[in-house]
């Protein structure tokens, strides 16, 4: 060490493992600065976030409402979304699983009176036989009356009493 100079040089003792004092001090300073910076950043960030969120809460809903009220969202979807493709891509099984199919089936059976339709259908053979007998009787009647009318030399008979039932006009017959 020279007496003419004011320079102080701190050197670790030869063989010592102690760190350089300057380096240590600078590390401490850096750490402190980093910590203070982080603290400031988090504090300021949280405050800024609160301010921004409040601003968005106040602004976004009315803006979105105003936009939606000015456009026909259904038309937009219909024009721009391929619903068929969307449905084709959708998995139907979870939807079907959630449907009350049994209740729905019972409702349909009740509504269309399926049991009565089955009863009518199962009686089809008997109905056909009865219908055939009726038609044949009518044909014999027609023949007999035409013979009598010819013998008596008169025109067609007038046996209409009631207007034909409305049902007979609407039911599709054989």
């Amino acid at each position: 060490m020279s007496s003419s100079d004011d320079l102080v040089v701190l050197e670790p003792r030869p063989g010592s493992t102690a760190p350089n004092a300057i380096v240590g001090l600078s590390q401490i300073a850096a750490s402190t600065a980093f910590a203070v910076s982080g603290l400031l950043q988090s504090t300021l960030g949280a405050a800024a976030e609160r301010v921004v969120n409040a601003a968005l809460d106040a602004v976004v809903p009315p803006v979105v409402d105003a936009i939606i009220s000015r456009i026909n969202l259904t038309e937009v979807v219909l024009d721009n979304v391929d619903i068929d493709h969307l449905l084709a891509a959708a998995s139907m099984e979870p939807i079907i699983d959630r449907l009350p199919l049994v209740d729905l089936a019972n409702y349909i059976i009740d509504e269309i009176d399926l049991s009565k339709i089955i009863r009518q259908s199962s009686g089809g053979i008997a109905t056909d036989a009865v219908s055939s007998a009726r038609v044949q009787a009518v044909e014999v009647d027609t023949m007999l009356t035409s013979i009598v009318d010819k013998l008596l030399r008169r025109g067609q008979r007038d046996g209409q009493v009631l207007a034909p039932p409305a049902d007979s006009q609407r039911i599709s017959g054989a």
Binding site: A133, T145, Q160, S168, R170, A174
Partner: protein, 173 residues
């Protein structure tokens, strides 16, 4: 595609008919509401008489079997033909009266697609039905007038102002 609410509304408004109704052949639709001829009505009456005979025979056999079950050693007196006849006439009268006064259709009428109505095309009253039934049983040949009369009316129809018309539906007029 018709929704259930639309289906019910159309059914209530009479715009559509439930599929449960029996169909009427196309060529027979024009006959609905027309007085029937003597053959159709004769067959219907014959079916009614046959039904009563079957009913009485079945009841007689049933009573005989019941009595035999109660007392196998006892005897069962088979009713005489006169008893059968009186019982048959009474049952037939009851059956015809009740059927004409309620639905207008006896069993034979139902099978042959006939309905007995009054002059307004409505159900006949009980007294008229009872009196008509008596005359039909006592004077069945009166039906023959339907063959001659231009309006297809039997003597009973003329007397009681009734008509036996074709009605293949099961709904009352």
């Amino acid at each position: 595609m018709t929704s259930f609410s639309e289906y019910r509304r159309q059914l209530a408004d009479g715009l559509i008919t439930a599929n449960t109704a029996a169909p009427i052949p196309t060529r027979m639709r024009g006959l609905q509401g027309v007085r029937a001829g003597v053959v159709t009505r004769g067959i219907a009456f014959f079916i009614d008489v046959a039904a009563v005979v079957v009913f009485i025979v079945a009841v007689t056999i049933g009573i005989g079997v019941f009595i035999w079950l109660l007392n196998p050693m006892g005897s069962f007196r088979v009713p005489s033909p006169a008893d059968f006849f009186i019982l048959g006439v009474f049952v037939l009268w009851l059956m015809l009266t009740a059927a004409w006064a309620t639905t207008g259709k006896t069993l034979g009428n139902h099978l042959m697609g006939l309905r007995v109505v009054n002059s307004r095309g409505q159900r006949v009253s009980w007294p008229i039905a009872a009196a008509r039934a008596i005359t039909c049983m006592a004077f069945p040949i009166g039906l023959g007038w339907a063959l001659v009369a231009r309006s297809n009316r039997s003597v009973q129809d003329v007397v009681f102002r009734t008509s036996a018309v074709f009605d293949w539906t099961t709904q009352e007029p």
